[in-house]
């Protein structure tokens, strides 16, 4: 203290001491931040807006008529670098000549959210959503089965479609059905996906 105050005049020192100048200096920073918009969020109460291309939890999608899009082709399984997908397929008993997945598992604990599976899917049955809140005390809950994946897909259908548009996999107009994969009539008999 003595060494620092050597350069200052006595008057100045007295004035500084009387006017709490050090506290003022410190408070200026604090007070100035009171009027600035905070960069942090009050997390569970407030949520960040997530971009459409965000890679979140995976969901399975249906066509607008309710039919499952997935044809059980196993390409997602083949594309997956962390081998977290398992598909078991069979012939659809209700619609002969069409293949569907009887079981579908994604081990989300292993998933690296690369999005390759979505890219590999020829019918856009898989999409990534903006869902990221699936923390649980039971790790077994993190192996998403077919039912869970469809639930995710249904709940986040808007996000999923936006994800596909953002990644240029599905288009908004009538040509979207032309854009990617098309099944012959008698094999699929499906309706074109409608615009969202």
């Amino acid at each position: 203290m003595t060494a620092k105050s050597e350069g200052k005049s006595l008057l100045r020192e007295v004035w500084d001491a009387l006017s709490f100048s050090e506290i003022r200096t410190a408070m200026r920073v604090v007070l100035s931040h009171m009027f600035v918009k905070p960069v942090t969020f009050q997390y569970p109460r407030e949520k960040r807006t997530i971009p459409d291309a965000h890679r979140g939890a995976l969901g399975l999608l249906r066509y607008d008529d309710g039919a499952e899009r997935c044809v059980g082709c196993d390409l997602c399984e083949a594309a997956c670098p962390s081998r977290c997908i398992k598909v078991v397929s069979a012939e659809n008993p209700e619609r002969p000549l069409s293949r569907y997945a009887t079981e579908f598992y994604i081990d989300i604990t292993k998933c690296v959210f690369c999005g390759y599976c979505v890219e590999a899917c020829p019918v856009n049955a898989l999409a990534m959503t903006k869902m990221y809140e699936y923390a649980t005390a039971d790790k077994r809950q993190l192996i998403f089965d077919k039912k869970r994946l469809y639930e995710v897909g249904e709940k986040h259908i808007e996000d999923a479609k936006r994800y596909l548009y953002a990644h240029n996999q599905e288009k908004n107009d009538a040509e979207s059905f032309q854009y990617r994969y098309k099944f012959p009539h008698q094999v699929a008999g499906l309706t074109p996906p409608q615009d969202s």
């Binding site: 044809v71 059980g72 082709c73 196993d74 390409l75 399984e77 083949a78 078991v88 397929s89 069979a90 012939e91 000549l97 069409s98 293949r99 020829p122 019918v123 994969y181 098309k182 099944f183 012959p184 009539h185 008698q186 094999v187 699929a188």
Partner: protein
């Protein structure tokens, strides 16, 4: 005329020289240019080519530039000429090939994600290789799928019209069930006559289809090729020893494939003489039993309320305790064992070792006793060979094939392809003596209709004709003049009147057949159930050996006498000594020296040769109360033997009946203890096929629930009974067999065999020859019909009736097959019930017409006991080998 394949040995053409990509190549004139190029090691893409048949030239991929020609030519259908200058690579050729791929793709539906061939598709590979990314004017055909067939679905949208399926069916299988057919403006591949495909369902068309146009109903949509684990193993149905890939996913077996595939399209045509790598309907589509729900999952013990599952520990303790008590009380000969020849060599070896050492009885037998032992015993006695004398290659390259008493396309479908190849490629003459018009008889140059059950007389007639017409080989007969004189005298005693009446053929036919046979440089005799499973089967095989001997065919290379065993490892069962008269390596059990050798190796004394018991003797002793405990491994005598043999009484009489089987069989229901065993797909080991080739069996799956491989159970039993059998794996057993039988496991080629008939001809021949050429008793006129209980293509034993795929193809119809003319004569309609009466029993059932059967004969598949038609049969036991003959009966049929 089709182009000759370059490697076929029958190509007789002047050698020429031509240039391929600047390299000088030697070839034969007129062969396919494609073959010449692939011989240099270059692979030109070709989607319609496969080495097993002649080039077809439909895909337009195998383009090459020939100097002097403006446009690229298709090398597969071009003939190699002297001085040709050929270029196989270059930008122009790449673009021309790319155009060809694009041409195929414009009409292809591109439904790869749902196609079963996705990832195993030549069109995909080609599109990728040639960088086809853009298609203009794509016009898929939009055709409905042809699902009329029971097994195969034809999706003509995906078809590239390569014709491989049609060619393999026509050229290799000689079934010719498929054809091109124009309808709705496009070309389709359909079954002949545009109907639902009904054929032998070998599935070779499925294997060679380079795209997903032909798919398999049994595994449709359930897999993608990259998801499956492939295990190379050997088929457990018949003794052909086909190599198969069991493809499994976590759930179980998804499909079965074989080395035959569009992927292996480059090969040496001459190699197909050893096999083309395909499978038959049983191997390819009969896999469902492996993970069937009916499998036994835990050991069962009979209690008052029925079977109750118990732990292995408890059950083994019970079995060992009971066996020990019975042995202490009644001696080791109160215990006997029977094993099926569907077990591996290691298990067969261990079983007879267990019975002979730990238990100490020689009452041990296998299902080779149902017929194959007639053949091996006869051949070992006469020629010192003890197995089939000719491998596949010798059968293929024979000039004359004499098939007696075999329906080879039904019993051994893949071995029958060797006969077909001999006929088609090598121009062999086939003499097929059979009562029914079998598929092989339809292809043969000399189909002889002989009376049902007269194989024995027909063989006698052949030998008689050979001797009388002096078609004998000087060198062979002069070496053993006494034997020849005895044979001459014996056949002299037979009268042609009796022989022609019995066989229904004239002397001229017998003479012509034997002349063909005797004059051929390479002639092979093939016989099967019609000889070895008949009454006097042992003598008939010896008569066939006589025929080969007098015509000089016994010791000549490329000739011989061969029989087709039924079950996968019957030859192995004989080689492993699972018969009371044999030790491993087919050493005779009566031979003190051989017994000494095994006694030293096994460190215990072996039971004396007396009392021994073969299958029928064991059952008799069970009935008499001499045998108190019976150990059955995979055997099901109750469903196999006719009721007149008293098999049920025998099994009910024994105090301890232990059944070890993957399924709960009819016999198993009578058992006190049932042990769950594994199928071939879950165990390690080897099978010996009919050629004598040892093939590996590898585990494709973990054992079903608590089932254990048979060898593990044997080892545990042996150790429990106080004879340590400490094996950790099947390989340990294998190592022990290797030490005792050096050279047995020469994996790969079968050892060539050399017949040594000298000893047999010098000693003992003259004593038995007169008996062997006795005319036998006359058929009973009161029962005019000949009933054969035999094998059909879609089944093998009782095992295949557990495979849902095969049952779907050939269900238990419960109908007696008869000639339509007989049916008309007896005025039997399809809904009428007939009563079939034999000497001892009668059965009522419906009939169905089968025009292939001769008049006066009827047929029932042996795989089904509904109605119990096997009980009509009487059982005649061969005096020498103890083989029970019960597959042929004379019956009366009347409308009920």
């Amino acid at each position: 005329m089709a182009l000759k394949p370059v490697t076929s040995p029958d190509v007789e053409a002047p050698p020429i020289r031509l240039t391929v990509d600047g390299q000088q190549v030697e070839a034969k004139q007129g062969v396919s240019l494609y073959d010449v190029i692939s011989q240099t090691g270059k692979t030109i893409p070709a989607m319609c080519y496969h080495y097993t048949f002649d080039p077809f030239g439909s895909c337009g991929m195998c383009l090459v530039m020939v100097e002097g020609k403006k446009a690229p030519v298709r090398s597969c259908t071009a003939k190699a000429e002297a001085g040709m200058v050929v270029r196989c690579e270059g930008e122009d050729l790449f673009l021309a090939r790319k155009k060809a791929v694009e041409k195929h793709l414009t009409v292809h539906p591109l439904d790869c994600p749902v196609c079963d061939a996705d990832g195993h598709c030549e069109l995909q590979d080609m599109a990728f290789q040639h960088g086809v990314t853009n298609l203009v004017n794509a016009k898929p055909k939009g055709l409905p799928e042809d699902r009329r067939s029971l097994v195969l679905d034809f999706n003509m949208n995906r078809c590239i019209l390569c014709g491989e399926c049609i060619n393999i069916c026509k050229d290799v299988q000689m079934v010719d069930a498929l054809q091109f057919f124009k309808k709705e403006g496009t070309t389709h591949v359909v079954a002949k006559g545009d109907e639902g495909l009904v054929c032998e369902f070998c599935g070779d068309c499925l294997a060679v289809c380079p795209v997903g146009a032909i798919t398999n109903k049994y595994s449709k949509y359930v897999y993608k090729p990259w998801q499956l684990k492939k295990t190379t193993s050997t088929c457990a149905y018949c003794a052909d020893g086909c190599q198969m890939y069991i493809e499994t996913s976590g759930k179980g077996v998804q499909r079965v494939t074989s080395p035959l595939s569009w992927k292996n399209k480059w090969g040496d045509r001459a190699e197909t003489a050893k096999g083309h790598g395909g499978l038959c309907v049983r191997g390819r589509f009969g896999f469902q039993y492996i993970d069937s729900k009916e499998r036994l999952g835990a050991p069962l013990v009979r209690t008052e309320e029925g079977f109750a599952p118990r732990s292995w520990f408890e059950v083994m303790d019970t079995v060992i305790g009971r066996l020990k008590a019975l042995k202490a009380q009644h001696g080791p000969n109160a215990i006997a064992g029977l094993i099926t020849a569907r077990c591996t060599n290691e298990e067969l070896y261990l079983f007879q070792k267990l019975m002979r050492t730990a238990i100490g009885t020689n009452q041990v037998d296998s299902s080779a006793r149902y017929g194959h032992l007639n053949f091996t015993r006869a051949l070992q006695h006469a020629a010192g060979v003890g197995r089939v004398m000719n491998g596949y290659e010798e059968i293929t390259k024979a000039n004359v094939l004499l098939l007696i008493g075999t329906d080879i396309t039904e019993t051994n479908p893949v071995a029958s392809l060797r006969v077909k190849e001999a006929i088609r490629v090598y121009g062999a003459q086939a003499i097929v003596a059979t009562s029914r018009m079998t598929n092989i008889a339809k292809l043969a140059s000399h189909p002889l209709r002989i009376a049902a059950g007269s194989e024995r007389s027909f063989i006698q007639a052949l030998v008689k004709a050979a001797v009388e017409e002096d078609l004998v080989d000087e060198a062979a007969t002069t070496a053993a003049p006494e034997a020849f004189a005895a044979l001459k005298a014996a056949v002299g005693g037979l009268s042609w009147d009796v022989l022609t009446a019995r066989t229904g053929t004239s002397r001229a036919v017998a003479v012509e057949s034997v002349r063909l046979y005797a004059e051929a440089p390479k002639a092979v005799i093939l016989c099967a159930e019609g000889v070895t499973r008949q009454v006097e089967g042992y003598a008939s095989v010896l008569n066939l050996v006589d025929l080969a001997w007098v015509t000089g065919k016994l010791t000549r290379p490329g000739c011989g006498v061969s029989a087709l065993p039924e079950e996968a490892n019957e030859q192995g069962a004989v080689d492993m000594g699972v018969a009371p008269e044999l030790l491993p390596g087919q050493a005779l059990y009566g031979d003190e020296e051989a017994r000494g050798k095994f006694a030293t190796a096994w460190r215990c004394s072996l039971p004396p040769p007396d009392p021994s018991a073969t299958l029928m003797e064991i059952l008799k002793r069970c009935r008499d109360g001499g045998i108190k405990a019976l150990y059955l491994v995979g055997e099901n005598p109750l469903a196999t033997l006719p009721a007149s043999t008293g098999v049920r009484e025998a099994l009910e009489k024994v105090e301890l009946l232990v059944c070890q089987d993957p399924f709960l069989t009819e016999t198993g229901r009578l058992a006190h203890v049932v042990l769950p065993a594994t199928t071939f797909a879950e165990k390690d080991g080897t099978f010996t096929n009919l050629e004598g080739k040892v093939n590996r069996v590898r585990p494709a799956l973990e054992p079903y629930e608590e089932a254990r491989p048979d060898w593990e159970i044997f080892a545990a039993l042996g150790t429990g009974l106080g004879y340590p059998m400490e094996y950790e794996a099947a390989q340990d057993v294998q190592r022990e067999i290797m030490k005792l039988l050096p050279g047995y496991y020469n994996l790969g080629e079968a050892r060539p065999v050399i017949a040594t008939p000298e000893g047999y001809l010098r000693n003992g021949f003259a004593h038995t020859v007169a008996v062997r050429y006795a005319a036998g008793s006359e058929a009973d006129g009161a029962r005019p019909f000949a009933l054969t209980i035999g094998q059909v293509l879609y089944h093998s034993g009782k095992l295949s009736t557990r495979a849902s795929g095969l049952v779907q193809l050939y269900p238990s119809k419960g109908r007696l097959q008869m000639n339509p003319e007989d049916l008309a004569q007896l005025q039997i309609g399809p809904q009428d019930v007939v009563r079939v009466t034999s000497a001892g029993a009668s059965v009522e059932l419906r009939t169905e017409a089968n025009p292939d059967l001769a008049r006066g004969t009827c047929f029932f598949p042996e795989h089904f006991n509904e109605p119990p038609i096997k009980d009509l049969a009487e059982c005649v036991v061969d005096p020498t080998t103890g083989v029970p003959a019960f597959k042929f009966t004379r019956v009366a049929i009347e409308k009920h």
